[in-house]
């Protein structure tokens, strides 16, 4: 065959490189990592890799957060189903975040930078393990294993579905035993989603650190989506300069993760006093308390939250939950009060609940009828969505007919009674 494999594949229509753009032919002058990033090459039984260590003194404030070793985290660890961590404390936790060659996961994704941080008596200690080439992966995994075994648990942001599965895969592929298996793990992402779903436009760590922690990143920051390409370019041309931004990004992520951990732990312990209370946060925490079985504190939070005011739909949703909490406890009087309050805010569902209450609990059909008719009157005006309206009306008409029959039966019986 006269032509090369490359010519042949091109003739068959294979495109070269991303969108057919050829990569630059002459690589830039290589710049070694050591000359860009403070750190050192560390030897392990599995080869060398590059390790950068940073100390943040006790006085360091990450945004508005200054790390406090004596942190109460009872409720946070209870939410994370690792209550015993609470006794071990902040020092026993390892904060972990990885930078990878892709966001898709699978066996082809390499965590080329692993950041590990923890709080010590002398401040916050950050270790970053960087693969200068993918061949250094075994050395990085070796160091991770050594390091991780010193801690009682790990804290991540989305680590349960991303960082840890990827690290697990790397351990299997390199024949290492997995240090994360069975280890306690608190992933703050699902908690953040719960607490700030309604209040904040995005629950990304980058957004939370601005909105909650008052952190501002410097010009060194590179956006996460660019990181795989920066690493590919570095592997290709040997210029480590842009990696500094990746190291900075990773360091900030870990510091923000630890700061968010402290912030959230504190907020959950004392929601009304930890910071300037936000009604939406308060009712989200109330709900979390409720699920953890802390009903009395939950009621208090609901009341405080509702009294602070919030957007109408969430207000009504909260009233409904709040009422349900009382109803489940059988405190009907208070339940009815809340429902009536919701009706004042034109909440049709509360009207329906009241109708149910009078029909089934009190067996007062005329009262039930009044609430049903009131609900029917409200649907047209206050319910949006034609389909929902029709469904609701059908159900209410059904209820009204049934009540009508009951009332007629009652009247008949009442009429007969004197005989």
């Amino acid at each position: 065959m006269p032509d090369s494999l490359s010519d042949k594949l091109k003739a068959l229509g294979v495109q070269i490189g991303a969108r057919g753009i050829p990569r630059p032919q002459s690589p830039k002058r290589a710049t070694a990592i050591e000359s860009i990033i403070p750190g050192q090459v560390v030897a392990t039984p599995f080869g060398e890799t590059f390790v950068s260590e940073t100390w943040y003194e006790q006085s360091y404030a990450h945004g508005q957060v200054q790390f406090t070793p004596a942190l109460s985290m009872g409720i946070l660890t209870q939410w994370g189903r690792v209550p015993h961590i609470s006794d071990i404390g902040f020092h026993g936790l390892l904060f972990l975040d990885t930078e990878t060659t892709g966001l898709g996961g699978g066996t082809g994704t390499i965590p080329f930078l692993v950041g590990l941080g923890h709080l010590t008596e002398n401040g916050f200690h950050l270790v970053q393990l960087l693969m200068r080439t993918p061949q250094e992966e075994p050395a990085v995994l070796y160091l991770i294993n050594r390091y991780v075994s010193q801690f009682a648990g790990i804290v991540t942001y989305n680590g349960k579905s991303f960082d840890i599965p990827i690290l697990n895969t790397r351990h299997v592929l390199n024949g290492f035993t997995n240090p994360f298996e069975g280890m306690d793990h608190i992933d703050l992402l699902p908690l953040a989603r719960r607490l700030w779903r309604n209040r904040l436009p995005s629950r990304s760590l980058g957004n939370l650190e601005v909105a909650l922690l008052g952190v501002a990143r410097t010009q060194e920051e590179v956006p996460g989506f660019m990181i795989p390409q920066i690493y590919f370019d570095y592997l290709h041309d040997g210029d480590a300069t842009p990696l500094a931004g990746v190291m900075y990004h990773n360091a900030m992520d870990i510091l923000s993760l630890a700061a968010l951990f402290q912030y959230t732990a504190g907020l959950l312990e004392d929601p009304l006093n930890y910071t300037i209370p936000q009604s939406l946060d308060i009712v989200a925490i109330a709900r979390l308390y409720e699920e953890l079985g802390m009903l009395q504190p939950a009621i208090q939070l609901y009341e405080s939250g509702l009294s602070m005011g919030m957007p109408e739909p969430i207000f009504l949703e909260t009233l409904e939950r709040y009422a349900t909490l009382y109803r489940k406890r059988g405190e009907w009087e208070r339940t009815v009060e809340i429902w009536q309050k919701a009706v004042e805010h034109h909440h049709v569902a509360a009207c329906v609940e009241l109708a149910k209450y009078y029909e089934h609990q009190c067996r007062e059909c005329d009262q039930a009828m009044q609430w049903t008719e009131r609900a029917i009157g409200m649907v047209e005006q206050f319910v949006s969505g034609a389909w929902t309206r029709r469904e609701m009306l059908q159900e209410l008409e059904h209820r009204r007919e049934r009540l009508q029959r009951k009332l007629e039966n009652q009247a008949r019986r009442a009429g007969k009674a004197p005989d």
């Binding site: 494999l5 229509g13 490189g17 060659t101 892709g102 993918p134 299997v172 592997l235």
Partner: protein, 857 residues
């Protein structure tokens, strides 16, 4: 069964049926070939089999057991419903009994088959539970495919001894996440691949590479499982299985299953027009036969070829046999699993009397034996014919299978040569795992799954070849060349980018604009898009017709709009073929044949609008579409100068320029005057150059130039329209007749569709010094081995082509032999036969009654 025999008697004596029956075979009932349970079979397994009503093994099951226990890979080639599944289930169950950690991976070509086999396994497992020591876990089987809910997946992985899935899921879902499967893969003892004859062509070449990837990953986990495969009857089961798994394979084919007597009937619908060879349609005839069967209370499956024809046949059948309309169903892809299950159990219980099915029902699904099966047209391969007709047949009692032929050349050939359906199959399942495009995709996937070590092989591909690909991928930026190892280094998931069932990575999406809404109705691959969905094309989908508004190739999008029309469109294509290299060539009688790499350039230049039913041309349009290029492998046959000379001397070579006679110059001007110097097809006026004048009925069909050149046989056409009109005529030369017949006959040997092969007749082939050449090329880029195989078996194919054309009942060529005769009735059949005779090294004398001068008086 007396119902069936009663009906068969009626058919034998009813002339309108009997006269169409061209062959009637009866296979006598066969007793089972039984072997006792092997000594090394675990007593619990033996007891469980006895509980399910199995007191011994059939010969092939016992042979399979022995071979697998001896550590051999096997392929079991026995008939439909012969108990093939026990051949793999027994060794797997035994392994699990002996070691509850043992695992097996089952691959099925379809999802329906997967669920069916899970139930079979569950049945054995339940029977086994009673005989296992208390407290021990019974073998668990789990389906893991695209329908498995995500939250169930880790449980299925962790707890199933047997995972049932398909190659596509292995490719996209399992291998790229193999670390999640580490425990499963470490203990993998058996890989079962069912129905391997379906893994041929592009699909098979992909699957072979998926298996290379699987074996590579298994090597990493230290597992070395035995492969147990099954196949329908093909010519090369052992070779094919060996190419798929790239290891020695033992063929097991001592079929020991019993069966009742079987009738196999070949039915050729009657000819309605002798001149152009038109027959009654296979569907119509099948409906008639099926009505007879149902009226006589014979449970029947009718196999149609496409979804649409299935619904059509069902509708007519319900109309014919109204009383049983409620007991008839269609069965095809697109039905919900629950609907299918209901039909399957209805068939088993007998409450369903008739099913009209596509090949969705062909593979393995357990429906018990039917009384009768009707095949509406040859299903495309002998293996499918056997599998479908094998649906008829009970362990005892008579059964019937009828193949109702369509007009296609292969159907008609088989009507004359039923031995191909009966004795040793000529079909070769072909794959080419080293097709560069397919290989490149899988090397990317493999690199994603695990870094390549320098010097590593990939299946049978040697380290040097692998290295070339890896370097290419490193150069293109997808791999990092780390010296010793190559690492996947791209933010992409390569398995998601390639479907195992096609080579086209970017299909063109067909979108229909309704009121305010866009609906996607399907896709076509890019190569076919210019042809099928060019602007103004009429595209048919689910019985609805659409007109193509625009074709945006850059964004892989075609916009369609519903349009009820009384016409369809036929694209006009110009094909040129260039040779890149010759792999092998040899002199053969009358010609030279060769195979090698070709570059096929195709341009869709225009289209004709043709009225349904009458086939008259309503108009034409030109298109300005870019040419597409296909680099592939092809087989070609160049006719030698001596052969051409000889045929010409015999007046059997008719592509020479004509001398139109002394009055031509005058008649030509008169025709143009009459037609107002305007093209009568597209309406273009003459612009400084004379238009052409075309003979409606070709000149050479007349004995007198005076008659040929009469004005009513002449029409003025612009050069473009003339070329198109001549293209229609060219099919009728001997060379194009040869191209047509080879294109349609070769699939019988290559186990492919005639659509998989491109055919081109080049009167003056540039790369063969202007020799007339027939070229057949693989439509898959870089080819999947069809061309080379054709080169090797060309003597056989040419001999059968001669038979096919010479035995065809038509006079002047028809769709069943050398292609459809045009409106003018002249077909070039004699020329094709003369050429085929020369190529077969035999003499051919044209019959006395060759087309005479009286035809066109």
């Amino acid at each position: 069964m007396q119902h069936l025999n009663h009906l068969l008697d009626i058919w034998r004596s009813e002339p309108t049926v009997a006269s169409n029956i061209v062959q009637w075979f009866v296979d006598d009932a066969r007793a089972p070939l039984i072997e006792p349970f092997p000594d090394d079979m675990h007593p619990s397994l033996r007891a469980a089999l006895e509980d399910t009503g199995i007191p011994s093994l059939y010969a092939h099951q016992a042979d399979a057991w022995q071979a697998v226990r001896a550590g051999e890979n096997i392929v079991v080639v026995t008939e439909t419903a012969s108990g093939k599944t026990l051949c793999y289930n027994l060794p797997v169950l035994q392994a699990v009994i002996q070691n509850p950690r043992a695992r097996a991976l089952y691959l099925f070509p379809t999802k329906a088959l997967t669920y069916d086999q899970q139930q079979v396994l569950d049945k054995y497992s339940a029977a086994l539970a009673a005989h296992l020591p208390s407290g021990s876990r019974r073998p668990a089987a789990g389906v893991y495919d695209g329908d498995t809910p995500v939250h169930r997946r880790s449980t299925v992985r962790a707890q199933s001894n047997v995972i049932l899935t398909n190659p596509d899921m292995l490719h996209t879902g399992i291998l790229p996440h193999h670390t999640n499967w580490a425990d499963f893969l470490r203990d993998l003892r058996y890989v079962v691949i069912d129905e391997i004859h379906t893994y041929r062509g592009v699909f098979g070449s992909h699957v072979a590479n998926v298996l290379r990837r699987l074996k590579r990953i298994l090597h990493f986990y230290g597992a070395d499982p035995i492969f147990i495969m099954t196949s329908a009857t093909i010519a090369n089961p052992g070779e094919h299985a060996g190419r798929l798994i790239e290891a020695p394979v033992t063929v097991i084919q001592r079929d020991g299953a019993p069966r009742g007597a079987r009738h196999f009937v070949l039915y050729n619908p009657p000819i309605t027009d002798e001149n152009i060879g038109i027959r009654r349609s296979a569907s119509q005839e099948s409906i008639r036969l099926a009505s007879d069967l149902l009226t006589c209370q014979v449970q029947t499956i009718v196999f149609g070829r496409a979804r649409r024809s299935v619904e059509l046949i069902l509708r007519n059948l319900k109309h014919e046999v109204n009383a049983q309309a409620e007991q008839m169903h269609a069965y095809r892809s697109g039905y919900l699993p629950a609907e299918r299950r209901a039909i399957e159990s209805g068939l088993r219980s007998g409450s369903v009397r008739a099913v009209v099915a596509t090949n969705a029902l062909e593979l393995g699904i357990d429906i018990g034996g039917m009384d009768a099966v009707l095949l509406v047209g040859y299903p495309g391969t002998i293996a499918a014919t056997r599998q479908q007709s094998g649906r008829a047949g009970r362990r005892q009692g008579d059964s019937l299978a009828v193949l109702v032929a369509s007009a296609s050349p292969l159907d008609q050939f088989l009507m004359k040569h039923p031995e191909y359906l009966r004795s040793r199959s000529p079909e070769q399942a072909l794959i080419n795992p080293d097709n560069p495009l397919i290989l490149l995709h899988h090397l990317r996937c493999a690199a994603f799954e695990m870094a390549f070590t320098r010097g590593e092989r990939f299946g049978s591909l040697d380290a040097q070849a692998v290295l070339e690909y890896l370097k290419f991928l490193a150069e293109s930026g997808e791999l990092h060349d780390g010296g010793e190892r190559f690492f996947w280094m791209a933010d992409a998931y390569p398995a998601a980018g390639i479907s195992l069932r096609s080579t086209s990575a970017m299909p063109v999406v067909l979108q229909v604009e309704d009121a305010e809404r866009l609906t996607t109705i399907g896709t076509v691959d890019l190569e076919s898009a210019y042809w099928l969905v060019h602007p103004q094309a009429i595209y048919l989908h689910e019985g609805q017709s659409f007109e193509v508004q625009s074709l945006d190739v850059e964004n892989s999008l075609a916009r369609l709009k519903p349009l009820e029309t009384d016409y369809y469109t036929e694209p006009q294509r110009e094909v040129t073929v260039d040779r890149i290299s010759t792999a092998e060539e040899a002199a053969v009688p009358g010609a030279k044949n060769a195979w090698g790499e070709l570059l096929v350039t195709t341009q869709t230049t225009g289209y004709r609008r043709i009225r349904w039913f009458t086939h008259e041309t309503l108009g034409a349009g030109t298109l300005d579409l870019p040419p597409t290029q296909l680099r592939t492998t092809g087989y070609w046959l160049s006719i030698s100068e001596e052969t051409v000379e000889k045929l010409r001397a015999d007046n059997a070579w008719n592509s020479d320029p004509n001398n139109y006679g002394p009055n031509w110059v005058v008649q030509r001007i008169r025709a143009r005057e009459r037609d107002n110097f305007t093209c009568q097809l597209c309406g273009a006026p003459e612009m400084g150059r004379s238009h052409h004048v075309h003979h409606k009925t070709p000149f050479r069909q007349f004995t007198s130039y005076l008659i040929a050149n009469q004005l009513d046989n002449l029409i003025t056409l612009c050069p473009t329209c003339h070329r198109r009109a001549e293209t229609a005529v060219r099919i009728r030369t001997g060379l194009s007749g040869l191209s047509y017949v080879l294109n349609h006959l070769a699939p019988l040997f290559l186990m492919c569709d005639s659509e998989d092969l491109g055919g081109h007749a080049d009167m003056e082939c540039a790369f063969e010094n202007g020799a007339p050449t027939v070229i057949l090329y693989d439509k898959v880029p870089a080819g999947i081995g069809l061309a080379e195989k054709l080169y090797r078996i060309q003597d056989e194919v040419l001999a059968r082509a001669f038979d096919l054309v010479s035995e065809c009942d038509c006079k002047e060529g028809c769709p069943s032999c050398i292609g459809p005769a045009g409106e003018n009735g002249y077909g070039g059949k004699e020329e094709t036969l003369a050429l085929l005779a020369a190529l077969n090294g035999r003499t051919y004398t044209r019959p006395e009654t060759a087309h005479g001068g009286s035809m066109h008086a």
